[in-house]
Every structure is written in structure tokens, then in C-alpha cells.
């Protein structure tokens, strides 16, 4: 005889219900890509190229010596005091001009031993005329010649000026010694010119014009 009864109990077991099934979804598909395009071309730029290097070079070395600068005295005698352009007549009814006497005396008393006596070998005189009404500068060469070397001497010049110029007009005198040293003297030398005009019936209350200039004699030591 079998006796027994039924009773409940809890049992666990794994039921595998997994399976494959087809589902439709949206997904992002990245199709972008990196690309580069271009070409080669020439271009110009400034670049410092250092070419420094050591090298040996032959140079000619002259024997040097100390020398005393050019010293002396220059006398400029200008006539007349007040210069006019050549378009006006002087007292002799001739074209107005400028006569100038230039004399020099080089001081060789302070020469160093064995130093050659300094002599003037070339003279260059010119005038820069500062023309009115901003008409520029007119250069008039008065004298530009080699002369026989001399420590003392003089020259005479006569110059006719075409244009009038203000007090900024400068007369330059250069004296050159045989070894290249030079003395430079300059001074204001305005050139006068005039014209006549008609006035209206009222006339004028201003005084007559005076003339520019005034230096006629100068003694310069250098």
C-alpha cells in the first residue's frame, strides 16, 4: 500500500526563451571624410642670409702722420657794397657787376717737423642766389680753377648776376691746399634788382625801398 500525499514545493529552473528576431531601427551612419587639395607654387620672401666668415685680405697701408690743420688769413674785398643785377647800369653806364679781390696768406709757422709747407693750389668761389617768389636757388660759379701753388697770393674776379636774390644768398669761398685740406669762408651777399610801376591817383604812403647788402671788406682768420 502506498500512502502519501501531495504537497506543494518551490522549485526553480531556468527557462531559456531567448531567440533571434528581426527588428527595424534607425542608426546614424557617418559617411564624412577628410580631404585636402592644393598645388605647389613659388613664392618670394626676404630672408637674412648670414655670410659672415673670416677671410684674409691684403690691404695697402700708407704711412700716416699727424699734421697741423690749414691756418691762415683770407681778405675779401668786394666792390660795390650793394650788388645789383646786370640789368641795371652803373655810373659809367655799364652793366652792374661785382668785383671781388680775394687774397690769402697761409700760416705755416706751426708746421710739424718734416711737414711740407702748405700752399693753396685751387680756389673755388660760387654764389647761391636765393631767388624771390620761391623761384629756387641759382648757382653762379665765380671762380673754379687750379692756381699755381702759393702760400700767399690773390685773385681778382668780376661777376655779372642775372637774378636778384634775398639776404639768404650766400657767397662761398673754398681754398684747397695741396694735400686736400681746405678752408671754407662764406657770407651773405644779396643781389638787388628793381623795376618801376605806375600807381593809382592815391599814390603811396610807404617810403622808398632800401637796398640789401652791405659787406664789402672782410678779413677772416682760419
Amino acid at each position: 500500500m502506498n500512502s502519501g500525499y501531495w504537497r506543494s514545493y518551490t522549485a526553480y529552473r531556468t527557462v531559456d526563451t531567448s531567440h533571434w528576431e528581426t527588428r527595424t531601427r534607425q542608426v546614424w551612419v557617418d559617411t564624412s571624410y577628410m580631404t585636402s587639395s592644393g598645388y605647389w607654387r613659388y613664392y618670394t620672401e626676404r630672408e637674412w642670409v648670414d655670410t659672415n666668415h673670416y677671410e684674409y685680405r691684403m690691404v695697402w697701408v700708407e704711412d700716416g702722420f699727424y699734421t697741423a690743420p690749414l691756418h691762415g688769413e683770407v681778405i675779401i674785398d668786394k666792390s660795390p657794397k650793394f650788388i645789383f643785377t646786370k640789368w641795371h647800369k652803373d655810373k659809367n653806364n655799364e652793366e652792374c657787376c661785382m668785383e671781388m679781390n680775394l687774397s690769402w696768406k697761409v700760416d705755416n709757422s706751426e708746421l710739424l717737423e718734416s711737414e711740407e709747407e702748405k700752399e693753396i693750389v685751387r680756389i673755388y668761389i660760387y654764389q647761391d642766389i636765393y631767388r624771390f617768389d620761391n623761384k629756387g636757388i641759382e648757382k653762379v660759379i665765380i671762380f673754379n680753377e687750379d692756381i699755381s701753388p702759393s702760400a700767399e697770393g690773390s685773385i681778382n674776379t668780376i661777376t655779372w648776376f642775372d637774378y636778384s636774390g634775398s639776404e639768404d644768398s650766400i657767397l662761398h669761398v673754398y681754398l684747397y691746399a695741396q694735400n686736400g685740406e681746405s678752408a671754407h669762408i662764406y657770407f651773405s651777399n644779396p643781389i638787388n634788382g628793381f623795376r618801376s610801376i605806375n600807381l593809382n591817383s592815391q599814390g603811396s604812403s610807404s617810403d622808398a625801398n632800401i637796398w640789401l647788402g652791405g659787406n664789402s671788406y672782410g678779413k677772416i682768420e682760419f
Binding site: 657794397k81 636778384s164 628793381f194 610801376i197 625801398n209
Partner: protein, 150 residues
């Protein structure tokens, strides 16, 4: 009773009177215009000569004083220059008589501000003689000054 009628020949006398009166007046007016015009022409010509004379005289400076002293002084012969250049530029004609040619230096010879040239002339009338005007007197004046170029 009188008879009214229009006869052109009856006005001949009055037209003649009008013509006799107006023609001399017209001639007088025309003559006046011509003589005054001639006077102005002569005056212009004389004034031109005065202007040139004044200009030339003002340039007549003592150049020696200017070159040595820098002063602006009139030369002694400036008066001769006035006459010389006036008559060089004025053509003498029978109808015009120069009665007075004069000059004046304003301020002084040592400081000539300007030179005044004055002229008085008589112009002989052609038509105004009818009314006893024999001459027209003209006066003209010109000033000249020297100016330094600057």
C-alpha cells in the same frame, strides 16, 4: 462860309522852319560829341606818355649812392628823363598844345615815395567853334614809383 480843304503844299513853310531850327542843333550835338571824343583820345595819349615818363623817372636813381651806401636817391637828371620820355611817347600834333608839363617828387629826392607827372593841354575844337568854344583844356596826371624786386 469858308471852304475846308487839305493841301499838303500849304505845310512847306513850317517844315522849312523846323529844319532850319533842328539841323544846327543836330550839327552842334554831333560836333560836341566829336570834339569831346577827340579830347578824350588826346587825354588818353597824353596820360600814357605821363605814365611812361613817371615810370622812367622813378627808375632814375643815383646808382653810385645805391651801390656804395645802399640808399634810394633820385639822380640829378630825373627831371630831364621826365621830359625826354614824355616827348618820346607823345606825338606832337597841331590840334593839341601842351601848355604845362610838370612833375613832383612826393616826400623828397632822398626818399622818393613816388613821382607825379602832371600835364595840361589844349585841344583845338573843330565844331564847337561855332558856339565860340575854341579849345578844350585837359588835365592828366600819372604816378610812378621804383620798387625793389622782392
Amino acid at each position: 462860309m469858308g471852304k475846308l480843304s487839305f493841301n499838303p503844299n500849304s505845310n512847306k513853310g513850317s517844315i522849312l522852319v523846323i529844319v532850319v531850327i533842328l539841323v544846327p542843333i543836330f550839327i552842334l550835338i554831333v560836333g560836341f560829341v566829336i570834339d569831346i571824343g577827340r579830347a578824350f583820345l588826346y587825354k588818353e595819349e597824353i596820360n600814357k606818355a605821363c605814365m611812361i615818363a613817371a615810370e622812367e623817372a622813378s627808375k632814375c636813381i643815383d646808382i653810385e649812392a645805391a651801390q656804395e651806401l645802399g640808399v634810394n636817391r633820385l639822380a640829378d637828371n630825373y627831371s630831364d628823363i621826365v621830359y625826354e620820355y614824355f616827348y618820346k611817347n607823345y606825338k606832337n600834333v597841331a590840334d593839341c598844345t601842351i601848355n604845362d608839363l610838370n612833375y613832383n617828387v612826393i616826400e623828397s629826392i632822398d626818399n622818393p615815395r613816388y613821382i607825379e607827372v602832371y600835364c595840361k593841354a589844349d585841344i583845338r575844337c573843330l565844331f564847337l567853334k561855332i558856339v565860340s568854344i575854341d579849345n578844350i583844356t585837359i588835365h592828366t596826371k600819372a604816378n610812378g614809383r621804383l620798387r625793389r624786386i622782392k
